[in-house]
Symmetry: C2
Subunit: 229 residues, 2 copies
């Protein structure tokens, strides 16, 4: 029956997310799912195959729950960025149930397993492409590398609200998501990034060589050395 498969997958998500792959036992999951122990080996090849399927199942559920935003041609790029960031935060950082989606995907990101390649293909790459598209609109005359760096800055800001959750609680007693809410957080990240983008664009237009004008910003530059291995 296909129902057993589904029950197993649904039960697996939260447990894998909380305990991690190694610390989770197939007995625990089968018991939680109300199925027999051997059902996992029967319906999936083995524990690892089962884990991969569970990750894919979680990612799919996450994408269904928080779909990518859709824009018409007239939507200004700034608004696109805001909705993108909001979607991103909702997908990974937010604690409303099922909260384990983001948790599980973050695990996959930090210590990738066999599921990582598919995860990147189905989940990361579309979002990355969408962000690069928005940045291309926002940053006229920018190089590909500049857009890449900017994308990293934006993604890093969003992801940190999931990755740094435990440390945030230990450090300040609560998460920023709980303190500010997704909306406020998304607005901060968006305006923060837009300001940086706009200044960089202005600099690119006025002069070739950005001298980091404004306040005194002196960087000791120890000549040229090339030591990357």
């Amino acid at each position: 029956m296909d129902e057993t498969r589904l029950r197993l997958l649904n039960a697996a998500g939260p447990i894998f997310a909380e305990r991690g792959y190694r610390a989770t036992t197939v007995r625990e999951i089968s018991q939680e799912a109300g199925t027999n122990l051997a059902a996992i080996s029967y319906h999936f090849e083995d524990k690892e195959g089962f884990y991969v399927a569970a990750v894919k199942h979680a990612a799919q559920g996450c994408m269904d729950r928080v779909p990518l935003p859709q824009w018409d041609a007239e939507t200004p790029a700034e608004e696109k960025l805001l909705s993108f960031v909001t979607t991103f935060l909702n997908r990974v950082a937010v604690d409303h149930d099922p909260a384990w989606h983001g948790q599980l995907l973050m695990r996959e990101m930090v210590l990738p397993t066999r599921a990582c390649a598919e995860f990147v293909r189905d989940y990361v790459r579309p979002m990355h492409g969408m962000l690069i598209g928005v940045l291309t609109e926002l940053m006229p005359n920018s190089s590909e590398k500049e857009r890449w760096l900017t994308a990293l800055s934006i993604v890093g800001q969003c992801l940190h609200h999931r990755v740094g959750q435990a440390v945030m609680i230990e450090l300040t007693g609560e998460t920023a998501v709980a303190a500010f809410g997704v909306k406020k957080l998304a607005e901060h990240i968006t305006s923060f990034s837009l300001a940086a983008i706009q200044q960089a664009t202005k600099q690119r237009l006025t002069t070739k060589k950005p001298p980091t004008s404004g306040t005194t910003h002196r960087v000791d530059r120890p000549a040229r050395k090339r030591g990357s291995r």
Copy 2:
């Protein structure tokens, strides 16, 4: 002998960092260290106590290798931020050996164990305090919450170069650290953040009360529609 302790701790770091706590066996570590299996239970209480000691050992080594920057009173805040970011990146993101330091600490951050509290106290809190101090200089008249959000944005950008490493490689074939180098990356993050800070400061000075967003999905500052009209 104290040497056995040290050999175990040094051997434990890379293995714990690569495989994670559960997937690492004490046999593997004792063999790598060239000690007897029972030495771990003898010198440390059990595997978990051993792991906590290994994390602390790694954090200490990391802090010794890349100490916090020290500034005199005349150092401009912008320069402080750059050196802070550089230090941060060097501590967590860089691949020069021993690269496992950052890896292990990131694991502790993502899935905290008993070592997390001490890790935050000895490692995270000093850096956080230092960053908040710099931001206080950079953001006159800012509220504590604004500084907190800004700190999160900066830390998120730095940490992403460790956290997102595996996905970055899967997505683009190489890490940004490898492609740009720490210096360039630190300069990007610093100028990116400085631009956002300066614009926010300017806004704070011009308008006493920032327009609180209503229910409409709009960016802080109403975006200009692109294109000719």
